[in-house]
Symmetry: C2
Amino acid sequence: MSEKDAFDLQNFLPYLLNQAAEESSLAFQKVYRDRYGMLRTEWRVLFHLGLYGRLTAKEIGARSKMHKTKISRAVQRLEERRFLTRDPDEADRRQEYLDLTAQGRMAYRDLHGVAHRYDAALADTLTPEEERILRAALRKLARMG
Amino acid sequence: MSEKDAFDLQNFLPYLLNQAAEESSLAFQKVYRDRYGMLRTEWRVLFHLGLYGRLTAKEIGARSKMHKTKISRAVQRLEERRFLTRDPDEADRRQEYLDLTAQGRMAYRDLHGVAHRYDAALADTLTPEEERILRAALRKLARMG
DNA sequence: CGTTAACGGTTGATTTTGTAACTAACAACA
DNA sequence: TGTTGTTAGTTACAAAATCAACCGTTAACG
């Protein structure tokens, strides 16, 4: 094996990214799970609708890169729990527009606030320079596909 | 809510980390899946054994922070496919030492090389400063739990 | 028009993960 | 010793993700 070469798991960016992603998601996951019984796919859909307003499932897919079956099922559950409503597009009846209900907007505002504060807390463990460069680097890597 | 505040998903570190992690894992996942039919948990176990030699499942758990059921199942599949063998510890018969077979070592060497080169390719999309700070920041975040 | 292809979205079967309860082995200490 | 607690690892069952096939609608084009 390569003798002097110290390449190990802790130096492998996909592994490192994964560990950081999992660790940093945990505390927030607890909030949307315990407060609203949501899954990761569900709060993501909720966030997209909260941030950008009425969207079709397809548009959410384009923005989030989630697979359409995930989105379909997330929308179903959010509808069942009255966080959103569907509004068929009369011009193209294959698709439907999704809107948050009042309850959905409340949940969104609540979780948005939690996320914002949590993000700030995470950023606080870094220096401002680290934070700036980390975000830039992550955006580059995320856009790589 | 804060009007001017442009906090959105793309600024939320857990989300950003997740996107970067998923995107950057894809190409490597394709290799261990297509070449060896492995899952993420399995190449991780393989890597630990390749890097550190004979270990018990518990030791792998301590190093990787994977849950013990994941490790148990990964070990089962790796054993079935003859990538490792189990060697019961006679001094403490609750645990067994795991060793890579010749085939396991070959797969490890192959994947280690792929990972190393892939990591270098990822790092190449970043400036040296970005890379250094990214790795440091990720380690901080990963150790947060 | 009519046929074929593409699209948005859903469903069902299979795989993978998560959670808890379990087994067997060991340790602690009365 | 024997009783109680702990540990390493497995298993069973539920929850979730993945993948391919599917349905109804719209587009493309002969």
